[in-house]
């Protein structure tokens, strides 16, 4: 028992403990509940930052799981309680750790049944942390499934609009994906006889006699991740879930939940099946470009402020998919950067859109307008988040997208024996950031600019707490944008062994 192999478990289970404690507090003591929730997310955040600082970034540690704990769990099937972090999961894990704390602050004004709300919120955080840290597939799958339950309740009880419908849709889509994933995991287990992600990756699937074609396994597994990311045409749950979810849940959903899909693709699909991934990469690159362009086109037609941001996520997740399946080191580092960057930027966009909606009681873009005079602070915060979403240099969005493009342009993924395909698709993808400028600036104009309207006189601007958490987001967006090496140095150690497997 020492710090290094207990810290991850502490980070994962502290929020779960917090959830249990909160479940025992009466609804009438809302303040106490909120402080408990803040405490049980702040401590994991502090521990997470310590882990991040202590994380060994040297090249010798490439592919080595750090801070890992490996305990026998169900010996009969060789299932282990195995958690650990490498360069890919570390930034995502810390991102969720951070968002977990920030969403408690974002939820500070929740008054409806706070006991259950915060219990579910903390359970949600714990399960996503678990997904990013798990190194055993069974453990991974269980955390993956647990996440659905709090999401369902959070959307269907504390949401707005067609909340029951959206919650149900979310669950059904996720289960559809999970069912495929489960089948994939079983195939994987019967082929390799192991549930250890590390072992399977190192041995390579090719060294086993496969019970089903490896390509089938690959597609079963990626089914679950494709729904989560989401990949066209499995994306329509996302706008509904985002639109009707409470603000904090939208932040977690966009900030960390979608990244489970991208993470799973890298960690499982590409790492376990490098040859299959290379063979089918053109398909996924094409889907990525569809995500980017089609997503942006649909975004431009939205009239609901949250729905617009939700669709922009579809477009932005296309960059992640492009980066992953371009299968180069630069593009995969870029994709991972994009996951972190999008988590911060879109998290802030949703948080601020929530403020606008909460304070003005209006979410229809056509009915908003001229708010810059009445709520200047929210305008500034929203504008900065928007700049990130447009990929303006200096923000994390730029460097993430730039690295993705830089890598994908040089991709050696072949289509009919040629790499021209990667060039063309990258150039089309770059059009996505042009369209991004279109929908973000148009949104800003319609919501904040123009003559002030009398009906919004006296609308509250961001209060102290809201300024504080927004400032945290903004500082991080610019820190990563101006000094990307704080992340790339770590991500690189996780990506380079995979690149070695792909032979890129």
């Amino acid at each position: 028992m020492n710090f290094n192999n207990t810290v991850l478990s502490l980070i994962i289970f502290l929020p779960m403990m917090g959830a249990l404690i909160i479940a025992c507090i009466s609804n009438s003591r809302a303040k106490l509940i909120k402080y408990v929730a803040a405490l049980f997310t702040l401590i994991p955040l502090i521990l997470g930052v310590i882990v991040f600082i202590k994380f060994d970034r040297s090249a010798a540690m490439a592919g080595v799981m750090q801070f890992d704990a490996n305990l026998s769990w169900i010996p009969l099937i060789k299932a282990y309680y195995h958690v650990g972090l490498d360069g890919i999961s570390m930034p995502l894990f810390l991102l969720m750790d951070l968002l977990g704390f920030l969403v408690v602050l974002i939820s500070w004004k929740i008054d409806l049944r706070p006991r259950e709300y915060f219990a579910w919120l903390l359970l949600l955080e714990a399960s996503i942390l678990g997904v990013f840290a798990s190194l055993d597939i069974l453990l991974f799958f269980i955390f993956w499934e647990i996440e659905v339950i709090p999401m369902f309740f959070l959307i269907s009880i504390w949401g707005a609009g067609r909340k029951e419908y959206s919650a149900l849709k979310y669950v059904l889509y996720t289960l559809f994906g999970s069912a495929m994933m489960l089948a994939g995991i079983l195939c994987l287990y019967f082929t390799t006889g192991s549930l250890s992600m590390v072992d399977i990756m190192h041995n390579g699937i090719g060294s086993y006699v496969s019970v089903v074609p490896t390509a089938l396994m690959f597609f079963l597994l990626i089914g679950g991740f494709a729904v989560k990311l989401p990949v066209f045409p499995f994306h329509t749950w996302l706008p509904d879930a985002h639109t009707d979810a409470p603000t904090a849940v939208s932040v977690v959903l966009a900030g960390a939940l979608l990244k489970m899909g991208g993470y799973g693709m890298i960690r499982i699909c590409v790492s376990f099946f490098p040859a299959v991934a290379r063979q089918y990469a053109p398909l996924f690159i094409a889907l990525a470009v569809v995500n980017i362009i089609y997503g942006a086109a649909v975004t431009l037609k939205q009239t609901d402020i949250k729905r617009l941001i939700a669709y922009s996520s579809v477009s932005h997740m296309g960059f992640v998919l492009l980066g992953i399946f371009a299968l180069t080191q630069v593009s995969m580092v870029g994709a991972t950067m994009q996951m972190v960057s999008h988590g911060l930027i879109t998290g802030l966009l949703f948080a601020t859109a929530g403020l606008v909606m909460h304070n003005t009681h209006e979410r229809d873009i056509a009915k908003l307008g001229g708010l810059a005079r009445q709520i200047p602070m929210i305008t500034i915060i929203f504008t900065i988040a928007g700049l990130g979403a447009m990929g303006v240099p200096g923000t994390s969005g730029f460097i993430a997208e730039f690295m993705t493009f830089l890598g994908s342009f040089q991709s050696n993924v072949l289509f009919h024996g040629s790499t021209l395909f990667a060039h063309v698709f990258t150039v089309i993808a770059i059009l996505g950031i042009l369209m991004g400028a279109g929908y973000i600036l148009w949104l800003l104009q319609r919501v904040f600019y123009g003559p002030p309207q009398d009906k919004f006189n006296g609308v509250h601007d961001a209060d102290k707490l809201e300024r504080v958490y927004s400032a945290i987001f903004i500082i991080l967006i610019f820190t990563i944008g101006l000094d990307p090496s704080i992340l790339t140095n770590i991500i690189k150690t996780g990506i380079s062994p995979i690149i070695h497997l792909i032979g890129g």
Partner: protein
């Protein structure tokens, strides 16, 4: 290293930005003047440092300074992106242009923006803009240049939309950003393309590769065209010129600094910066020459008939930027940049003069002006000198650089030469049309107290007048050209009068003179009626007046009809009706939920309920409360998840070969 001070040139205005937005704005709300002083101090310091740099460059071998670079990010094993500064003669000249004009504009703005509620925001954005522009001209790699390039565009967005409560300003800001970003798309693609072929972003390395022939053929041409696309966007060349006239919605000093002297000239700078790439591709050079020459006459023709003084100046800027592009394509860096250098001063002066007029008359519409000569003598004299310089009258600065471009164009692109020669006539005409309409005749506007502007505004006008007269003299002995390594120096007298040995200056002066005379005949003496002239050339007049209907084509047809009303609408329809409607409504709701789940649900109610709660016990801790709020469906999803996990574990046990 002793040259590290160079970093300060753009860091000082950045510091000013930070001080204003984080310190002065929240804490000294009632003392807005401080923001102006901080900005002026920072820009003045940058100006002094730029002068030091210029003198060091004049003395340095090859006119280059070495500044240590910073490692920024390692993107793959062995590939590091550096941040560094490239200080050569081009940088030296651009630093002078940017800091001088910026300093004058910041001083002038104290008067123009007096009592504006957004005073802090104005100076914060101006500081940030100056930072970005200085960073751009000093960047040593395409990536860093692109970052500052985008920052420049962002500041332009913030400043055009400065009066965001006006829908027209908000619209213009968005339009400017998006239209320039269309060009940036090409620039970014070119950077990535070049990196894929050379493995570097470093400008000097790329230049050497182009010179040595390592970078050649279609790769070089495509890269150059991509970079030029970026330049077309920022420098408002046809077909991406539409944003610049609308950008006049911003405060007038912003137009002077950003949309005349610096940002709009950034495209020209970029082509000059990567000039070896263009030089070694005949196609790329031709493209630059054709786009530049065409834009010059195209924009000048629109300027002929505009009634808004700032719009005339805006189209004039587009036209002159076209000249610069043509100068680069035919005569090289020295010729193109010399015109940029001269133009920056007299065009900034013209804009500031227009601002001064607006200060007195509260309008930009020339039909409501007239007779301002007496009320505003200082504005009049300075404006007249700048207009004469722009018209290209000897010996003012505009004459020298325009003449150099004409003579080079005659050599290399005779057809385009004819176009720009006609433009010389147009330029003189539209500028003197402005002079006679605003300063000549009698006042036509509403009752108003006409007055000369504050001295804080007129002094910058006078300083710029000195430059508008004299900036051309820097090349009298060939000094400017030789600084760029083009040509030898010779005696000043030779430069001043020797030019008249050629026929070309006589022709261009004659054309400019007749343009001025025609304007005088129509708008001052009224020998010829403008109305009847307009009727006589009605189709042509309509074409110019409606700016060739380019805006209508872009906004009305391409954006509204084809994209928003066509493609994007179709995508949206497809998304809601086909994907969501089809899969979701039909598959999920009708097939799965209604039939399959309904059957399961009945089964669940009869027997499984208790077992499920046992399995999912911990997760459903708060189950009782939730059951009240939710329909029974909820348990199903819990059930399904539980079943999934159980199925996984059970099947692993059963099939396990352990």
């Amino acid at each position: 290293m002793q040259n590290n001070f160079v970093w300060l040139i753009f860091l000082l205005p950045f510091l000013s930005f930070l001080v204003i937005s984080l310190f002065l704005k929240p804490l000294f709300k009632d003392k807005p003047k401080l923001a102006g002083y901080v900005t002026i101090a920072a820009v003045a310091a940058s100006f002094i440092l730029s002068v030091v740099v210029l003198f060091k460059l004049l003395g340095a071998a090859d006119h280059k300074l070495i500044v240590p670079e910073i490692n920024w990010v390692i993107i793959e094993n062995g590939v590091t992106i550096h941040l560094g500064l490239m200080i050569d003669s081009l940088t030296g000249i651009m630093l002078m242009v940017v800091t001088t004009v910026s300093l004058m504009v910041q001083i002038y703005s104290q008067g123009y923006m007096k009592d504006d509620p957004g005073y802090h925001r104005y100076y914060a954005a101006m500081s940030l803009f100056t930072t970005a522009m200085l960073g751009l001209v000093m960047a040593d790699s395409l990536l860093l240049a692109f970052m500052f390039w985008e920052m420049v565009g962002l500041c332009s967005y913030l400043l055009i939309g400065f009066w965001f409560h006006k829908p027209s300003a908000a619209n213009a800001a968005k339009k400017a950003f998006i239209v320039t970003r269309i060009g940036d798309f090409g620039f970014l693609a070119a950077i990535i393309f070049l990196y894929a072929h050379t493995g570097t972003f470093d400008i000097a390395t790329l230049q050497n590769m182009a010179v040595s022939g390592m970078l050649a053929g279609s790769v070089l041409t495509w890269a150059a065209i991509g970079i030029f696309a970026g330049a077309v966007g920022k420098s408002a060349q046809f077909p991406l010129h539409v944003w610049l006239p609308d950008a006049m919605e911003g405060p007038t000093p912003v137009s002077a600094l950003i949309h005349a002297a610096t940002m709009a000239a950034a495209g020209v700078f970029l082509v000059a910066r990567t000039y070896p790439l263009f030089e070694h591709s005949a196609t790329a050079l031709h493209t630059v020459a054709i786009v530049g020459g065409f834009t010059a006459i195209f924009a000048a023709s629109i300027a002929l008939v505009q009634n808004d003084i700032k719009r005339v100046l805006a189209y004039s800027t587009i036209s002159q930027l076209g000249y610069m592009m043509l100068g680069l394509a035919t005569g090289g860096v020295a010729v193109g940049i010399f015109h940029l250098f001269n133009h920056a001063f007299f065009k900034a002066l013209l804009f500031l003069g227009a601002g001064s007029i607006n200060h007195a008359t509260q309008t930009f519409d020339m039909r409501e002006m007239g007779g301002l000569r007496k009320a505003m003598p200082k504005t009049y004299i300075t404006f007249l000198i700048a207009a004469t310089s722009l018209a290209g009258i000897w010996p003012l600065s505009g004459f020298w650089s325009k003449d150099a471009i004409l003579s080079q164009a005659l050599d290399k692109q005779p057809i385009i030469f004819v176009l720009v020669l006609i433009t010389v006539f147009m330029t003189a005409f539209y500028m003197f049309r402005v002079i006679f309409l605003t300063f000549g005749g009698t006042y036509r506007g509403k009752e108003h107290h006409l007055h000369e502007s504050f001295s804080v505004m007129t002094i910058p006008l006078m300083v710029l007048t000195v430059l508008a007269v004299g900036s051309g003299f820097f090349n009298l002995n060939g000094g400017f050209s030789s600084f760029f390594g083009a040509g030898e120096t010779h005696s000043i007298l030779e430069g001043l009068f020797g030019i008249f040995k050629e026929p070309l200056p006589w022709i261009s002066l004659l054309l400019a003179g007749s343009g001025i005379f025609l304007a005088y005949a129509i708008y001052s003496r009224k020998w010829i009626s403008a109305e009847s002239l307009g009727k006589m050339f009605k189709p042509l007049y309509q074409l110019f007046y409606h700016k060739y209907w380019v805006d209508e084509l872009y906004e009305g047809i391409i954006v509204k009809k084809i994209l928003m009303g066509g493609l994007f609408k179709a995508a949206h329809f497809f998304d809601t009706k086909v994907i969501d409607g089809g899969i979701n409504t039909f598959m999920i709701q009708k097939v799965i939920v209604k039939n399959f789940f309904a059957g399961l649900f009945a089964f669940d109610r009869k027997g499984v309920d208790g077992a499920v709660n046992g399995v999912a016990g911990t997760t459903l801790a708060a189950g009782k409360t939730i059951r009240k709020a939710q329909t029974g469906q909820l348990q199903f999803y819990g059930l399904i998840i539980g079943l999934g996990v159980i199925a996984l574990i059970v099947s692993v046990f059963i099939f396990s070969r352990v």
